[in-house]
Amino acid sequence: MSADVLTPAAAAALLYREALLLDSSRFSDWLDLFTPDVEYWMPAWRDEVSTTQDPDRELSLIYYRGRRNLEDRVMRLTSGLSIASSPLPRVVHQISNVVVLESGAGAGTVNAVFVCHRFDPRMGRTDCFFGRYDYQLVLEAGDWKIARKKITLLNDTIPTVVDINSI
């Protein structure tokens, strides 16, 4: 198999690494996983069974095109100026069912599921979020990077707050 084809092992390694970086609040390393023009998208739900499909005409929970928007989110999260984010909640992401759907030269699409447990030490409260990830990965200078990440949050009644580190 040629080195520029996305293997299941390489896909899983990237997703697990992303989870580890979020779980350990290593946000600048996390940002390095994304391409500069990444599309980062968590749609809202249109009704009981379908999510919104067109971010320009329908509402999303989060929609950004460009890594610099994720840099803003990280800046806010770690600024100490957001009472919702300080102290940072403790999170664990569990990623599984990683499937490479397509793989071509230097690009691939990946589907996975996630469960994120979050403990908010200030309120002594634990919440759990779960859903699906859809990734488009591209090979840049020998490393797989995230060109698109779509997060389908299945339990979308948000308990007070959901930030980029708990999805």
Binding site: R46, R57, I62, Y63, R76, T157, I158
Partner: protein, 445 residues
């Protein structure tokens, strides 16, 4: 418990205080549900949520599930969403289209006008005459109506007319509704969130100019960064193009209006700027309604129609329904509300600004809701029971309107003109005076 222990309202002494108990006490919550949410007008939704015949949407009045539907002629009706047979909810989704609803429990069916169409195996049922002469239709809301597409209902018939209830605040709904000749719509994608605190914290926060620079410095810093680096990747926000809220800003930048029945507005001058999605219609709206009313459409406006509707037009435009669940638990249903027919570019800008500012997954709202939860914890302290958050603006509040309300022939009960640091708190008095009026029968004076 007496009303005087809950609200200390003595204008002549310069005192207005609210007891922490109104946010925590289970008897107060029960009384609020009975007298305010299930005993008077509440907002149910927009007409556009059920656009055509047989379309429906579901919501709540207090704890009561409500079905709003259009019959075959297109007439809107409001019903208790509960089968008269055993009480089960008959419409189980938020929105849809149904010529008839069939109760999922015993298959009684109802048409879109709420009439009973069939009682399953009626002839074999050996019913008494008394039952057969009874009405097996859905219970209609005792009061129901809409204003400019905003639909309201009441579980009590003992209410003023909707026009009387909304009063002068109707003109503020006009400022929303008149933004398009085709009316208003909700952008697809409803966002629901909960917080572990009392519903009145949301009621107040919408009108709270005082918290912005304290609770949202992280959002403000993001805006500053975006302004410095203007890149094509970021969407311009009206906040970064406006000075009215910045503490160094001089002069009158906004203020508040209070109305009868607990409706309030706080507002600020944004100016007619391209950072507001409505900008593409600025000239047309001025021609149509005059520059004064047009300018008001571009002002920052946070409107509360007591007790459960808020329309916030600032970074973008949000419609919220406040749904109390328990003294220390509230559910918020939120939508991006938009004029129909705006350009794709304006709609995109509206949506992007909305997500960053209003969503519980965004960069501003979580810093409000976490603050509510901190307040709720703090309310347990009853050593000094009276809260001191209702005193700013006491000597600035005047009866009637001012030169800004005069421009659109708006006649509030009271008003405050404010610079960026006044941050009026007397507008909350209007909430609690309406609240006290409604609660008077529940607690002795």
């Amino acid at each position: 418990m007496k009303l005087a222990d809950l609200i200390d309202d003595r204008p002549e002494a310069g005192i207005f205080r609210v007891s922490r108990a109104i946010f925590t006490d289970a008897r107060v919550f029960e009384a609020e549900m009975r007298t305010i949410f299930e005993g008077g007008w509440v907002f149910l939704g927009l007409e556009s949520q059920a656009p055509g015949p047989h379309d429906f949407f579901t919501t709540h009045a207090g704890r009561v599930p409500i079905l709003v539907q259009r019959d075959e002629t297109g007439a809107l009706g409001g019903f208790v969403n509960s089968c008269p047979h055993k009480g089960a909810r008959i419409a189980l989704v938020r929105q849809g289209h149904a010529r008839q609803h069939i109760c999922p429990y015993h298959s009684w069916s109802f048409d879109s006008a709420g009439r009973n169409k069939a009682v399953k195996w009626k002839r074999a049922g050996c019913y008494s005459d008394a039952f057969l002469q009874d009405d097996q239709g859905l219970a209609r809301l005792p009061a129901f109506g809409s204003y400019r597409g905003f639909v309201f209902g009441s579980l009590s018939a003992n209410v003023p007319t909707l026009d009387e209830y909304l009063g002068e605040a109707r003109k503020l709904l006009d400022l929303v509704a008149d933004q398009s000749d085709d009316g208003l719509e909700l952008v697809p994608g409803q966002v629901t969130f909960t917080y572990a605190a009392n519903w009145k914290l949301q009621l107040e926060n919408c009108s709270d100019a005082y918290h912005f620079t304290s609770a949202h410095p992280s959002y403000i810093r993001v805006l500053e960064r975006r302004q410095q680096e203007m890149s094509a990747d970021v969407v311009a926000s009206v906040w970064e193009n406006s000075d009215y809220w910045k503490e160094e800003t001089q002069g009158i930048g906004g203020g508040s209006f209070s109305f009868e029945n607990g409706h309030v507005l706080n507002w600020g001058v944004f100016g007619v700027t391209p950072a507001i999605p409505l900008y593409e219609r600025a000239a047309e709206l001025a021609d149509r309604f005059g520059p004064a009313k047009r300018d008001w459409m571009f002002n920052m406006r946070n409107l509360t129609i007591f007790p459960n509707l808020q329309v916030a037009e600032n970074a973008s435009s949000q419609l919220r329904i406040i749904r109390p669940i328990a003294p220390d638990r509230t559910e918020m249903q939120t939508w991006c509300i938009a004029p129909k027919g705006e350009s794709a570019q304006a709609r995109r800008q509206r949506i992007r600004q909305y997500e960053d500012f209003f969503n519980p997954t965004g960069m501003a709202t979580p810093d409000d809701t976490i603050a509510y939860e901190n307040c709720q914890r703090g309310f347990a302290g009853k050593v000094a029971p009276w809260l001191q958050g209702y005193a700013r603006g006491m000597t600035a509040s005047v009866p009637g309107g001012n030169r800004f309300s005069d421009k659109i022939d708006l006649h509030p009960a009271r008003s405050v003109l404010a610079d960026s640091q006044l941050c009026d708190e007397t507008l909350y008095h209007s909430y609690y005076r309406a609240w006290a009026q409604r609660m008077a029968g529940e607690f002795g004076a």
